[in-house]
């Protein structure tokens, strides 16, 4: 269970999060929508302490921390309960696919190398990369890199995986393979928070949809509620625009 209470974050005078509260139940898939600059990335980064929020509270399972007063130790334990999949994959450039998955298991979790290797192989197999154990990131396509990144996140068995536009940097023909892998992850019952512009995907896998704009949550509900009868004007405008742009039928 993840709970964010009243998260606030400014960059200088730019107030990016103006009090965001979010609840994610165990096993739930929450999709965050919103126009560019609405603070979606910042929210995910605050949950992972890649960004230090100015105020608010975070609960992950039995761990509760105040953003402002989090100690190094608390930050580390939050990070070890969460995992993140980045828009630009961010695989470790000096590690091959297998080592990329093993790194967190061995170095952060202290799992023996042989056991970590088995786990890593299993996770890479699940994302369809059983023939790429030894490949360097530079030898993989964007879609393959992102699948390794997802395997890396899943292997840590975190309480939640945060996805920040995982398909936005991909060539269109590679988007499908990554979404398919994410569907599998969702089916496994792993808690996910996903920022995406893939509307049909969102409406398929989301249990809960959140629409953000201007640093606040404007509206939230089931996919059906948000996609078919949004209450707020801003939500409607956003959906119209994006559906037009991507020409998706839902």
């Amino acid at each position: 269970m993840i709970r964010v209470r009243d998260a606030r974050k400014s960059f200088g005078k730019n107030e990016v999060l103006r009090g965001v509260s979010l609840d994610v139940k165990k096993g739930e898939v929450v999709v965050i929508l919103g126009p560019s600059g609405s603070g979606k990335t910042t929210l995910l980064r605050c949950i992972n302490f890649l960004e230090n929020a100015d105020d608010g509270e975070l609960t992950i399972g039995d761990l509760s921390v105040r953003f402002k007063h989090a100690t190094k130790r608390e930050i580390l334990s939050v990070r070890r309960r969460t995992a993140m999949v980045f828009q630009n994959y961010n695989l470790f450039n000096n590690k091959n696919a297998l080592e990329n998955v093993m790194e967190g298991l061995v170095t952060a979790r202290g799992i023996p190398v042989s056991e970590a290797r088995e786990t890593a192989k299993r996770e890479l197999d699940k994302v369809g990369l059983s023939d790429k154990y030894e490949a360097w990131p530079s030898q993989l396509s964007g879609g393959q890199q992102q699948r390794v990144a997802i395997a890396r996140a899943v292997s840590l068995n975190p309480e939640v995986i945060l996805f920040d536009e995982p398909t936005s940097a991909l060539d269109p023909e590679l988007v499908g393979e990554v979404l398919a892998v994410m569907r599998d992850v969702a089916r496994e019952g792993i808690t996910m928070v996903v920022v995406t512009h893939e509307m049909s995907f969102a409406s398929d896998i989301a249990d809960h949809v959140v629409f953000m704009d201007g640093g606040v949550i404007v509206e939230e509900g089931t996919p059906r509620e948000i996609f078919t009868r949004p209450k707020e004007q801003r939500t409607r405008q956003f959906l119209d625009r994006i559906l037009l742009k991507y020409d998706y039928a839902i």
């Binding site: 990070r79 993140m84 630009n88 470790f92 450039n93 979790r109 530079s138 840590l156």
Partner: protein, 238 residues
């Protein structure tokens, strides 16, 4: 006096006797520069309090001072007092000679630390922030991220520059003639002092420096290839 290539050999023989001095004056500073310059670069990268501020003022200042002044100033600051002591207690000449080599090594090391801390700083900066973020996201601490992911990548960037730094140190070490250390150049010159074959002596010294630098370059090329094998064609894709 006509040019006589056979005197090159004569000078070479004498100069080679002091090869170890030139190597001491460049290898030790290289290692010291890496050992001291890297932590300085890390402190500045992470904006550590005090250390990074001090380094931020000191390093640019020290970088503007030529090597020969490092040697002269440190010689003045260290050797002169020692020298007086030695005279006072009537220590052997040989001891004084050793001391001046030590001074040379200290001066070259100080210079190398300043230079190499800048090399390591730009190498660290060439590793994208996303690499740190990926480390943190899987639960690595900052130290683990540095050791396991960032430093290996930074080193691959740094090797060709470190190689240039090293070549600079080898060639720069010849400056120690100002404090009368017998190195390769001074050794070759000492043979010319007897037979007046200066050009041949210069050529002999040049040959030795040339071979040293070519070898370093070759070694660096091999090392670089090894370190970079994983980034065969690392493009903007990531």
């Amino acid at each position: 006096m006509t040019f006589d290539a056979s005197y090159i050999l004569v000078s070479l023989k004498v100069a080679l006797r002091y090869l170890h001095v030139t190597l001491l004056l460049s290898v030790i500073p290289l290692l010291a520069g890496i050992a001291l310059g890297t932590p300085i670069a890390v402190c500045r990268k992470f904006r550590m309090r005090f250390t990074s501020q001090a380094a931020g003022v000191l390093i640019p200042t020290l970088r503007g001072i030529p090597l020969v002044l490092y040697v002269l100033i440190l010689n003045f600051l260290i050797l002169k007092p020692l020298d007086m002591l030695a005279q006072h207690y009537a220590w052997a000449d040989r001891l004084r000679m050793m001391n001046s080599i030590h001074i040379g090594i200290v001066a070259m090391s100080a210079y190398a630390t300043v230079t190499i801390s800048e090399t390591m700083r730009s190498a660290l900066n060439s590793v994208p922030d996303g690499q740190y973020e990926a480390c943190f996201s899987v639960g690595l601490t900052r130290g683990q991220a540095l050791r396991r992911i960032v430093m290996p990548q930074a080193l691959a960037f740094a090797v060709p520059v470190l190689c240039n730094n090293f070549i600079g140190l080898i060639k720069g070490s010849s400056i120690v003639y100002v404090i009368a250390i017998l190195d390769v150049l001074n050794g070759a010159m000492s043979s010319a002092q007897i037979n007046y074959r200066f050009l041949e002596a210069y050529i002999a010294a040049a040959l030795i420096y040339w071979v040293l630098c070519i070898s370093v370059e070759r070694a660096s090329w091999l090392l670089e290839r090894r370190l970079r094998r994983h980034r065969a064609e690392l493009t903007t894709r990531g």
